[in-house]
């Protein structure tokens, strides 16, 4: 199939020469295209022609080609790379596979990613660590919707170099005219994506033309082969020239005499004596030593895993970002970002997620979704939620300030992921566009009368009594009795329930999941103000989702949120049906009714569980008051 003389001979690394200029470097690239474009075949061809396929793998390949192959009697090189059983059987690539090959000049890590729209997240995963992308186009079909989608995702994830591989050129009679036509069309569309370089190569992965071996069928093409292009592509991102960013990963304290901050330089160069700041706190100090197991270094560059010691005893922990004092990152608690949603369950604005940026985890929520982007047409579409594989432009808010840069300026400090707080599944990937509000600019009005002062005057502590449970579970009934008793004891109280907020504050909200989340968020903020005013706020809401209840809990101080679960079985609630709602829901007249066609997530650790008993709601109220006394909220 391929003359072995075309293959690479191994050149061992020669340390003695110390020839840095000629040393072997690493290139990470991804391939995009669907199976029909011959993507897996192209990677199989690269592995085969760079001699990475061994005899036993070849034997397995011959066996598999007969069983699953699509190339008749010839070897189906795609089978080399479609690893998981289901993929081999279905003939599609559904996950990111990493492939390795090397030439004397470069080692390559290929992220082989699926091309279908339903695997956008897999492609983004591959792109997140890639320095270049090989975008495949079937020469017969030309630029397709998917070509645009792949290019957009590459640009979104910050890939700057594209190799346009116009494959199956053998099937268009090696036509230069066809090739130039496709290239012109692509360049016209890609101009808006602002790639730093685009190289176009006509090739045949199946027969190996212009992959590793120069084709003899295309005398009109004088550019590099694919491997030549990949070997010589300059992908340096100038990371060393960017301002120093050093996310502290781990504090190394083996004994009382050593306190080092271990991490990997994200950008810039660090040297002993450099002035650095802890980005969020603004504390300044200097780098003392750069410690490694191989001895101290005179400087460390982007990508180097080192341990820094500092001249002053500064309070620094994992999650802090060290930066050069003269070139600091933004410190904000609100920012705008492009978000790619990766869960089946849709994104809900207002819900609290765990945000990971650098080495830091911080609770965050998406405060608004401005629009989503159609990945095929790049059109902006108004939307309330994001579904799996959808990309949106959002504002986010974190519970405390974070240090960050725009993703376009720095991939390491401008990227984040969102994590579901209950399942811990990775929910989204985000690329920061810009900070919205400088946390350092928020000067809260200094208050002469504070919460503690009000508490002394009131003679009781403030709290949120959060009644949750199904419709008809007795939340409001019990809450009303509790409020009556508290009032009789001289406590300052206020009742928030669906009726008094849905008619005013939240009249613009409906009953979709997204609106339910926003409803609870607003109620939580109002309740917080009442707590600050020293009141005991009784909130009576179905509040079906754990995440929202947790969000409210985190708004106030620990001990101020009392979750009371009215655990009345659904059958009993339906039997009571005080407002006739169940009957209407079951008749299909009300949609998204909790317990009927919308879920209720019971609390995992409520402060109090009330179950229906023979003594009725008075007994429930008695238990609530007892719990308040036990917690010293009232005496």
């Amino acid at each position: 199939m391929t003359d072995t003389s075309e293959r690479f001979a191994y050149v061992p690394e020669d340390a003695a020469t110390g020839a840095r200029a000629g040393e072997k470097t690493l290139l990470r690239f991804l391939t995009c295209g669907s199976v029909d474009d011959g993507k897996s075949t192209l990677i199989g061809r690269l592995l085969y022609d760079t001699q990475l396929i061994h005899d036993d793998q070849l034997a397995a390949l011959e066996r598999d080609s007969r069983k699953h192959g699509t190339t008749g009697d010839e070897l189906d090189l795609a089978l080399l790379v479609d690893g998981l059983q289901a993929e081999r059987e279905q003939g599609i690539t559904i996950d990111v596979a990493y492939r390795f090959f090397a030439t004397p000049r470069r080692a390559f890590i290929v992220a082989d990613t699926p091309g279908h729209e339903q695997y956008t997240r897999n492609m983004a995963t591959g792109a997140s660590n890639a320095q270049a992308a090989v975008i495949l186009i079937d020469a017969r079909k030309g630029v397709l919707t998917q070509t645009r989608r792949h290019s957009f995702i590459c640009a979104l994830l910050g890939i700057r170099h594209v190799v346009l591989a116009i494959n199956k050129i053998d099937l268009v009679e090696y036509s230069g005219e066809r090739f130039h036509h496709i290239v012109a069309e692509y360049l016209g569309f890609a101009a808006a994506l602002k790639f730093a370089s685009i190289a176009s190569i006509p090739l045949s992965a199946r027969y190996g033309d212009n992959v590793v071996r120069r084709s003899e069928c295309m005398s009109w093409y004088e550019g590099p082969t694919l491997i030549e292009q990949l070997e010589t592509l300059d992908v340096s991102e100038g990371l060393d020239e960017k301002p120093l960013r050093f996310p502290v990963q781990w504090v190394n304290r083996p004994n009382a005499d050593f306190r080092g901050f271990a991490g990997t330089v994200a950008s810039g160069i660090v040297r002993p004596g450099d002035p650095v700041v802890v980005a969020v706190s603004g504390r300044e100090t200097r780098v003392e030593r750069i410690v490694t197991a191989d001895g101290d270094l005179a400087e460390a560059h982007a990508g180097d895993a080192v341990t820094l010691t500092l001249s002053d005893e500064v309070d620094i922990a994992r999650g802090d970002l060290l930066a050069h004092a003269q070139a600091r990152p933004e410190v904000v608690d609100q920012f705008a970002a492009q978000v790619l949603w990766m869960l089946e369950e849709p994104m809900l604005p207002g819900r609290s997620y765990l945000l990971r940026i650098g080495t830091r985890y911080v609770p965050a929520r998406i405060t608004s979704l401005k629009h989503k982007v159609d990945v095929n047409t790049l059109e902006h579409i108004a939307a309330k939620t994001l579904g799996l594989n959808e990309i949106g432009v959002c504002n986010l808010a974190t519970t405390s300030p974070v240090a960050l840069d725009a993703y376009a300026d720095n991939r390491a400090t401008g990227a984040f992921v969102l994590i579901d707080r209950f399942t811990h599944a990775t929910a989204a990937a985000g690329m920061i566009s810009f900070g919205l509000r400088r946390a350092t600019n928020i000067h809260r009005q200094a208050l002469l009368v504070d919460k503690a002062a009000r508490m002394r005057l009131n003679g009781h502590r403030p709290a949120i009594l959060w009644f949750t449970g199904l419709s008809g579970s007795g939340k409001s009934t019990v809450a009303n009795i509790v409020e009556r008793e508290l009032h009789a004891h001289g406590a300052h109280t206020y009742m928030l329930d669906g009726d008094n907020v849905r008619h005013g504050l939240n009249r613009d909200l409906g009953f979709t999941d997204a609106d339910r989340v926003e409803n609870i968020r607003r109620v939580g903020e109002v309740a917080k103000l009442f707590v600050d005013a020293g009141a005991i706020v009784l909130c009576s809401f179905i509040s079906p989702f754990r995440a929202e209840r947790r969000m409210v809990r985190e708004l106030v101080e620990s001990g101020e949120f009392i979750e009371i679960f009215c655990d009345t079985p659904l059958d009993e609630c339906r039997r009571r049906d005080p407002k006739g709602l169940y009957a209407r829901a079951l008749a299909g007249k009300i949609r998204n009714f909790t317990g009927i066609d919308s879920p209720y997530e019971p609390p995992e650790n409520p402060e109090l569980v009330l179950t229906p008993g023979p003594l009725g709601p008075e007994e429930g109220a008695r238990q609530v008051l007892e719990a308040l006394r036990a917690r010293h909220i009232i005496v």
Binding site: G83, L84, R121, P254, T264, D294, A305, A412, T423, H424
Partner: protein, 315 residues
């Protein structure tokens, strides 16, 4: 191999010995290892005694310098490892003052499970996979490092660096977390665990070149020497002790052999070789047209063999 001269200790000299490519791999792996120490309650490093474990341990020692390794090593002893491997293991642990846990599935031993009469599949299932799960449960480890590389085998090519296991150590290849940038999702619920592969992006060649440059000790079985072997089903098996009975007509012969990968001795085929240095091993590897795991008899058990074993909990 043990003493590092003053010249070798000079950081500039040592750094110069590693290519940009190897330095990048080294830093990436150190970052992954530190991440686990920072985020998990009770991590452990699986130590299989082979060359990949050697590199992984070396990287971990570097990651926490000047501190000590903040987690123990765990070796799953099937009782059928080469004796030289066990000697080497104990020597390495003693030299670095490491906490080494050794676990054997006692129930499997009591049932008389062995690679010869039980067959390779059952032996591997009980003495390796089950044993590993038992050990992880016994010590309540929430993260376990393994030395697996993505270039080893097809189903490993899709493995995450942080590979999620649901309660019961179940690996569901369809339900793995997307891994973007180096923002690993380290959060788990009780009962769930993570397997971490710091060498994911290394190739066999990288491992040897790094081993050579960093002068990491390896089990002598990797180097060619005259050893007693028998030929069985076209493979050369070294009879490491008397437990392995000879079949009629089989004769022990002394040949110059070495091992490309190390496992249970009756399940690990040797190859004829004269390579006695790492340089020669690298040269031989590049000349040879068989892949690294071809000497591992367990991979050939059935189609998609590794994927199946991994779903069961094999490393």
């Amino acid at each position: 191999m043990d003493d590092i001269s003053a010249r070798e200790r000079d950081p500039h000299h040592r750094r110069a010995r590693l290519s940009a490519h190897l330095r990048r791999l080294e830093s990436e792996s150190i970052g992954i290892i530190r991440e686990v120490a920072a985020e998990f309650r009770n991590p452990v490093m699986l130590y299989s005694i082979g060359k990949d474990s050697g590199v992984m341990l070396h990287l971990a020692l570097k990651a926490f310098y000047p501190g000590k390794l903040p987690f123990p090593l765990l070796h799953i002893d099937t009782t059928w490892k080469f004796r030289e491997m066990i000697r080497f293991r104990d020597e390495i642990a003693a030299r670095h003052g490491l906490k080494l846990l050794v676990y054997t599935n006692a129930e499997g031993v009591a049932r008389g499970i062995n690679p010869i009469s039980s067959g390779s599949q059952l032996h591997t299932q009980v003495m390796k996979t089950e044993a590993l799960k038992q050990a992880l449960d016994r010590w309540q480890f929430d993260a376990a490092f393994g030395g697996a590389r993505r270039d080893e085998e097809q189903s490993r090519a899709k493995e995450r660096v942080f590979s999620f296991r649901s309660p019961g150590h179940v690996w569901d290849p369809r339900n793995q977390r997307p891994e973007l940038w180096n923002l690993y999702n380290t959060r788990i619920n009780p009962g769930e665990t993570i397997r971490v592969f710091p060498l994911s992006n290394w190739t066999e060649l990288d491992v040897w070149e790094y081993t050579r440059a960093e002068q990491i000790p390896v089990v002598p079985l990797y180097f060619a020497a005259p050893r007693p072997v028998i030929e069985r089903d076209g493979q050369l098996i070294m009879r490491d002790d008397e437990r392995m009975p000879l079949k009629p007509g089989e004769q022990t012969q002394v040949r110059s052999v070495r091992f490309r990968s190390l496992g249970c001795y009756p399940l690990t085929a040797a190859q004829e070789s004269d390579a006695t240095t790492i340089e020669q091993i690298i040269a031989e590897m590049l000349r040879m047209r068989t892949s690294e795991r071809s000497g591992r008899l367990i991979d050939n058990d059935e189609a998609a063999s590794m994927e199946k074993k991994k779903r069961d909990g094999y490393f």
